[in-house]
Symmetry: C2
Subunit: 324 residues, 2 copies
Amino acid sequence: MAAVAGVSPKTVSRVINNEPNVRPELAERVLAAIGELGFRRNAMASSLRSGRETATIGLIIEDLANLFYSTIAAEVARVARAHDTHLITVSSEEDPELEQRQFAQLCQRRVDGLVIVPAGADHSYTRPEAEMGMRMVFLDRPPSGVLADSVLVDNEAGARAGIASLLADGHRRIGVVVDSPAIHTARERLAGVRTALAGAGVPYDDSLVRVGVSDPDGAARAVAAMLDANDPPTAFFTGNNRITVGAVRELYRRGSGAALMGFDDFELSALMPRPLTVIAYDVRELGRAAAVRLFERIGGDASWPSEITIPTRLVQRGVEPGAT
Amino acid sequence: MAAVAGVSPKTVSRVINNEPNVRPELAERVLAAIGELGFRRNAMASSLRSGRETATIGLIIEDLANLFYSTIAAEVARVARAHDTHLITVSSEEDPELEQRQFAQLCQRRVDGLVIVPAGADHSYTRPEAEMGMRMVFLDRPPSGVLADSVLVDNEAGARAGIASLLADGHRRIGVVVDSPAIHTARERLAGVRTALAGAGVPYDDSLVRVGVSDPDGAARAVAAMLDANDPPTAFFTGNNRITVGAVRELYRRGSGAALMGFDDFELSALMPRPLTVIAYDVRELGRAAAVRLFERIGGDASWPSEITIPTRLVQRGVEPGAT
């Protein structure tokens, strides 16, 4: 390992044990070497596993009672059924520790593979199982600390296109409401916002950005606070559909004419009581692509991990005001 | 068996084989006797099974990518987790044959029990497994041809209350749009409509009733046709949330002031672009009650099957017109 990375064994040990004072570029090199070796071993172990031990796969998601995740679960189950395989779905409730326990239990059941929408930011805990041949595909958020396939939305490009559209309509003061940047999707979407603003020469104004907003009520409060401030935004960018719904509610309640651009489409967006634009993508395709990739792995595919990206598009939603 | 039912063995055979020309009251007696004997045998077999063989239960539902079912799945999974049990969810896609195949596969896996939202109208196919000790709870629709616990919405009373509310507001011409009466919930809700109308002395007018409507587009067409007829309805009763959404769309599009009363609440109903009333009930409680009952059975409860009824209530939804 140390030889592959070109560093001392002591450095390898310090990186693995997450000790401080390791130069970032050394840590990168060590992790890359670990990843590569680990992945080679996994691929070999996986091909040694007999293909279909339990005819069961597992899906770890945040919350089944959320249409985004249940749509993914339905697609994964559909692909599984075509392979005569049952799907066990478990919920991590956005809790990284619960995710680890659920992962361990599903591995103990000897499922043939796992689709994971990770809650935590560090998935090195999966490495021992991966090295023993557990096939895994990460969905919506990329893996960290382990090499594996992933299927992701093109978050950065989608947010860029959304902001570019608002800028093209003449907006210069755009209120931005997103979830915590600790979450991959929120981080990427915020990055897209910054890139689009910078590209148009519009300064990034911290007073117009609220992060860590995770539900409709919080979103409504964030929008209200920005509208009540001096020189309020003429448009809003909302980072996911829960935030968008809260923004719709508050903008409608006030009769505000501010433009609204929200990431994620959602059921009944076409019947929202005011116009909005959504950054839409094919949620079913997310689930389908992940499940198809997993069954390729179960079928013996030992190629280098791939990252599949699902594109986005802008769609007009909501009803025109005053039609009644 | 014939002795218990007080009929000839030939009659028993004819009832079991579903032959014609058996008097209904004889058939009833035979089926009741079969049910009672079957159930006694099941309860004994169930108690002989060692409690926790696979630490897995199964859930058979129509479609996971429908928030009603995914909410139920999430609750069943939550109760299962509290019992250190995994949940396998399979979709019947409203196809009785697929339901039977899914049932057989889950029994082959030796799950500890099943929650079933039945697609078909006849569940006598489950009897052999039930008699070997498979615990089952039927959800949202009652079992037929087998004795088992069930958890149901109070459909008839809910529809009655909804129509009574429209009548109290002075409506006499009420358009009714429901799914096929072959479906238990649609049949019960339609029965509630008839009872409420009869109680108020308002004649049941076939020209104001559309049955077999199963999606929003069909509902929008049904509402449009009734509004375009002579002497159009001043109010609509819609039999489930998919039908309600189609009715909202069509009524909003026309700027119609007709009242709307829809069975089932739904996410974002509060943001629909016109007022409506929904007949709401606790969907989580449906799933929770079914799972709790199943684990009571797994824990050894051999009491006579129970029917748990979930109550409904009327809730105002939608936004007031012209607030923008």
